[in-house]
């Protein structure tokens, strides 16, 4: 075996084992057919375009659509669920951010030092692209959805650039805050390839309208809360959407663990894994928030109740991750790794 062939075989390891067992020799035969130069056989490599093509094929085969092998389709469903849940949350957060910003700007009694800088309105408006991305995705316009999702992720990249000169502490805060956004975009691009099934529009749109309604109510709630000097009331946690999102993951994960109907329909695996990914994605932000609340509590700027609530949430999320990952993995592994045997 030449070194070139060895390198190409290494590249093909990106593909799922079942696919490789079926296709590796055939692909090697095709790629090696016109590579006869001895120098090339010794020192050449498949090339970046070929590496990219194999990587794309690997994503498509590992995160298959309904026509693919059941196990790969379950992995694909997991990634697509993370993308949908993440975009849903980003959409609701974007609407909440806009509503909150408007409420802050228009609230005359608000202390001057918390009036946002000029970047905030721009970031808030760009963030609204997530709403468009979500709606277009569930309506079947994937390319546009991906484009808008990239627009929506821009503010977080700017935040990283702004945090870099301020040191690792600031950078960690930004990374913790935006981890879910980046994971969402990655899952959107990886999971919604050409063969991916269209999500059911109605339940997802219903979830969006419910979430947006909740965001508006939360923003109104912020206006109603008293601003008593430097003291932070634990009531601020009620309209805090990230805290609400944490509770929603906990409730959904509990339903996933106990609902037999999900198990009957083979949905437990993808949902358990998707919720575990979401929980892992929001845990850094929750931990960061817990540290901030603990500091405030230690200084007497807030009661310990808020920190205790968030601590409970962090512990619940961590416990659910520990339960959901083995459960989801076990359910997905029950599915066959290959589709019906290939003909010929």
């Amino acid at each position: 075996m030449t070194r070139l062939e060895r390198r190409y075989r290494s590249l093909l390891r990106l593909l799922p084992p079942a696919y490789r067992a079926e296709r590796e020799e055939e692909m090697i035969g095709t790629v090696m057919a016109d590579r006869n130069d001895e120098l090339d056989l010794e020192y050449g490599w498949p090339g970046w375009p070929e590496a990219w093509a194999v990587a794309v094929l690997a994503v498509r085969t590992r995160l298959a659509g309904p026509g693919g092998p059941p196990r790969a389709a379950a992995h694909g469903d997991t990634v697509r669920l993370v993308a949908l849940l993440g975009l849903l949350v980003s959409s609701v957060m974007a609407v909440a951010a806009m509503a909150t910003w408007l409420s802050i700007v228009w609230r005359p009694a608000y202390p001057a030092d918390v009036v946002p800088d000029r970047w905030i309105p721009a970031a808030t408006i760009l963030g609204l692209a997530a709403v468009g991305a979500f709606v277009l995705l569930v309506l079947g316009y994937r390319l546009w959805a991906k484009g808008l999702a990239l627009v929506a992720v821009l503010p977080s990249l700017v935040e990283v650039a702004r945090a870099l000169p301020r040191g690792p502490g600031s950078l960690w805060t930004v990374v913790a805050y935006d981890a879910m956004t980046w994971i969402t975009v990655g899952c959107l691009f990886a999971g919604f390839h050409r063969e991916a099934p269209a999500p059911a529009a109605r339940p997802w749109l219903r979830a969006l309208t419910t979430g947006v309604g909740l965001a508006v109510v939360a923003a109104a709630g912020l206006r109603l809360l008293p601003l008593t000097g430097q003291t932070l009331s634990p009531l601020w946690l009620v309209p805090d959407l990230r805290t609400l999102f944490g509770w929603m993951i906990i409730i959904a994960a509990t339903v996933c663990l106990v609902a037999p109907r999900l198990r009957d329909r083979g949905l437990v695996g993808p949902w358990a894994l998707a919720l575990a990914v979401c929980a892992v994605a929001i845990l850094p932000e929750r931990i960061n928030f817990l540290a901030e609340l603990s500091d405030l509590s230690a200084r007497g700027d807030t009661s310990g109740i808020a920190a205790a609530v968030v601590l409970g949430q962090v512990a619940s999320l961590a416990a659910l991750v520990v339960v959901l990952i083995p459960l989801g993995t076990r359910e997905v592994r029950k599915l066959p790794p290959t589709a019906t045997p290939l003909a010929g």
Binding site: M27, G29, T30, V54, A55, V56, L57, R194
Partner: protein, 110 residues
């Protein structure tokens, strides 16, 4: 239908072919504009087989390498013919517009 799919279907319409022969045929049909990477080729072939437009035929060993042949199904032939008709109609429409503006068309006619 993507250009890659169209050209692979056209290559298979000439007769059953193995992977390397399809890559060469696509390059020739596109007059060198398109070089199919092997990863891309098998993605296209997977889709064609899943849609019932192509099917796997015999496999053979050639100079120690596995070659599997693919052939167009009747459904694939119909899909290719329909796409060719659609593209031809588009070309006619574009040529007609270009002629009315006095511009040379792709075929070199005015």
């Amino acid at each position: 239908m993507s250009e890659q799919t169209f050209l692979v279907l056209t290559a298979l319409a000439e007769g059953s072919k193995h992977g390397y022969a399809i890559v060469r045929a696509v390059e020739a049909l596109s007059e060198g504009r398109m070089t199919l990477r092997v990863g891309t080729l098998y993605g296209v072939l997977d889709r064609l087989v899943a849609d019932g437009w192509a099917e796997r035929e015999r496999a053979e060993i050639h100079q120690g390498r596995l070659r599997r042949y693919y052939r167009l199904t009747d459904e694939g032939t119909r899909a290719l013919a329909e796409e060719a008709r659609r593209l031809a109609a588009n070309v006619r429409a574009a040529n007609s517009v270009l002629r009315t503006r006095g511009l040379r068309t792709a075929g070199g006619l005015t």
